[in-house]
Symmetry: C2
Subunit: 317 residues, 2 copies
């Protein structure tokens, strides 16, 4: 038996679209910040009477259970029946990145339980095949997920850009809606790839955003990171809006918070927004500005979380 506690990550430069669906290889590179406080804790024990998956205290069935078990099959094809117990201390599946920490924790706990030696990059490649964004939650701090060019995906994994203590940034999360999103990420990506006339422009224009965000992180230049993040975010949503039928995750409160961030910036507060496949808005700022940002966001939604930069996974037997 082994247990892994892993923080989710939020993409500052976005992942949307796959160059290989089976191997979960992305069409673009991406870059994330690992979050503090929010975490998934997952225990895996092999040698149970039969496969069993508990998620947030309930027996999982259907797709959520089969995705977990299929992932264990990938890590060890001839494995024994397993019992998996996974708990999030934050809302699941509303664009709060629970699948990033979920599949990273599952990967690290299973590798440990099976005593499989591995590098972080090897764990990242396995985690990627469970859920793309999980490839970035193998480290704390700031992580790039290389697009890679190889067909087998061996060069498409996380790269550690900067450790958690490199830069004490804050991310203020406005929870517009806790519910399950209307269109799941994988379904949304496939629809975008098949139908959006803007998709090829997305795939050919991400490198500049990634280079800008990476340099901004290394230089601790929030405006540089923020500009790259907002550009990447809006391009991703442009591909969603132009899919057929259109994918519209924005709610009125999402736009109200976008406007609020513009207003805060005009008032001299250096802050920048991003969103993912869901209506919630995440605002990046320096810790000294986080209380003012959180106050402003609380005019629009009840549920606001201020998080810092999260640490590395913790894995125990």
């Amino acid at each position: 038996m082994a247990t892994a506690t892993v923080h989710p990550n939020i993409a500052l430069v976005k992942y949307w679209g796959k160059r290989d669906r089976d191997l979960n290889l992305p069409s673009t590179g991406s870059l994330s910040m690992t979050l503090s406080d929010f975490a998934t804790t997952t225990s895996v024990v092999f040698g149970a009477a039969q496969d069993e998956v508990m998620i947030n205290g309930e027996l999982a069935t259907g797709l959520p259970a089969s995705r977990v078990l299929k992932h264990l099959d990938l890590i060890q094809p001839d494995r024994a029946p397993a019992r998996v117990v996974s708990t999030n201390n934050f809302p699941t599946a509303a664009g709060l990145a629970s699948s990033s920490s979920g599949f990273a924790a599952l990967t690290l706990a299973a590798l440990k339980a099976l005593n499989i030696d591995h590098t972080p990059a090897q764990a990242s490649i396995l985690a990627r095949q469970g859920s793309g964004s999980a490839s970035r939650s193998i480290w704390g701090g700031f992580v790039e997920w290389r697009r890679g060019v190889k067909k087998d995906g061996t060069d498409s994994h996380g790269l550690h850009i900067a450790p958690p203590d490199h830069w004490k940034l804050n991310m203020v999360i406005a929870v517009v809606d806790q519910g399950q999103k209307s269109v799941g990420s994988t379904e949304g990506m496939l629809r975008t790839m098949a139908t959006s006339p803007m998709y090829s422009a997305w795939v050919s224009s991400w490198q500049k955003d990634l280079d800008g965000a990476r340099q901004g992180i290394l230089d601790q230049d929030l405006e540089m990171v923020g500009r790259a993040m907002e550009a990447s975010t809006l391009k991703m949503f442009a591909t969603m809006f132009t899919s057929s039928p259109p994918i519209r995750y924005w709610r009125p409160a999402s736009v109200a918070i976008q406007d609020e961030v513009s207003k805060l910036r005009k008032a001299g507060i250096n802050c920048w927004w991003t969103m993912d496949a869901g209506p919630n808005v995440k605002v990046l700022c320096e810790p000294e500005d986080a209380p003012a940002v959180a106050d402003a966001l609380q005019h629009h939604v009840e549920d606001v979380h201020t998080l810092g930069v999260g640490g590395h996974p913790v894995v125990e037997e």
Copy 2:
């Protein structure tokens, strides 16, 4: 002296971007519905003591006045001083298409006052040079604005697709904000052309929307028109969102109304939304559904107008 009364038009397939700025030649074809009720009435008299432009009861100065006078210079380069009096019976410059009726009325009144013989296409070419969308307000009913391919713009003018009585559609307009828009159309187009990585996809993908909307109008097939209109609208906004800095005309109420239209459609009401360079939302539907649509929109904004298909310009001496 001559007076023209002209209805504004709302693009169902959008115009955004210029292939020639001086001649106001568009990068894409577009297609519109002329609105009933809303109108601009413009009188022009040549031989005044000096140039004078009155707009909505006030003496115009600066850019609004010089655009009007420059347009008269275009129509007759060696003209006498002119007095122009123009009045809108609807809000000016908030994405309610006042420049479409404004420059079409100015063109038609000036041509009449000068006794210049002209075809509607010739008037459309002149109106286009005042404001692109004005090229479509030379007719009532449904009008296509051909992109054209000639450098001199002589093939880029309106084409009358169907007369006002062809199809009794309604457009329900939700006025989210009556104020001047944050970024003017020309400035927004130039920024999009210079900075959006999605712009070339927009320019290479409009023909399908135009063909769909045209066929839908000829067949009186609202779903066909609606799908083409929403796709064209969302692609246009995708280019705006991905401009640098981003152009964001959507307000929270704009998104609330987009959601409302989705809800109405799920409830069996055949209705479709569009927006222009501003926060207002226009919903296309059959007349028998207009009261239900207007009721639903009034939950989000106070100011809702239900308009029909407008007639041809009226020009009098």
